[in-house]
Assembly symmetry: C2
Homo-oligomer: 115 residues x 2
Amino acid sequence: MKVSNALLEEAAKIYKVLSNTNRIKILYFLEDNEADVSTIVNNVDLPQPMVSHQLAILYRYQLVTRSKQGTHVFYCLDDPHILEMVDAMLGHVSHEIKGEPHPYRKTVRVKKDEF
Amino acid sequence: MKVSNALLEEAAKIYKVLSNTNRIKILYFLEDNEADVSTIVNNVDLPQPMVSHQLAILYRYQLVTRSKQGTHVFYCLDDPHILEMVDAMLGHVSHEIKGEPHPYRKTVRVKKDEF
DNA sequence: TTTAAATATGTAATATGTGACATATAATAT
DNA sequence: ATATTATATGTCACATATTACATATTTAAA
């Protein structure tokens, strides 16, 4: 498959956005609810400036939309398909983990032919 | 959906691995071929130490496997499903780059109501 | 117009990632 | 042993990310 550089770089950027558990948590909370910042803060258990900061990143990369109502800003998943991708990734890692924590491959594989 | 912290962190780590165009390029080259390092170097047009470095990261996080034959080390996708995920992401960003609304998006973003 | 609530932004310390480059190791052949 | 090829590792300068915290901005109500 031939992929343009611009596309690769854009994909890499989205992956960077997703490479943070706080942002993933926020996305997951928004799976079921459109929610304002305070509600998100109360549910993901992070300080408000942190949540605002991560929401700004999610918004900049078009992972969420937002709309203002009075003093409240409501955030919403832009494309639910993103969460399907995250689901797939969680499935991947849970399959890989299988009981053992797997930050790295610590378990020795076959001695002779591997290294 | 309720997700354990360990799982979230593991998914975030894999996302971090994927957040680099050089690593994605290497994974894509391995889509069609099992290949040794030199072959990869010749095809992705990156200096050899860079390729070895990125391969080490891909191996540590179990995105590729490797086997040694003489002086050559052959790398192979560990789980082709990973590339399906990358495909999905490339599809996602190709929509974004063209400024197209996402497939599942109900309303088009309007300047006036945004800020 | 002062106050309070909701949200966003700025700053600084620390940490982590990146890319270029030099060099080390490992296997094989001469 | 020495040389050669394939691959891996170490280092350094640089850039970017993370987090906590303080403060600014916006809105609406009293």
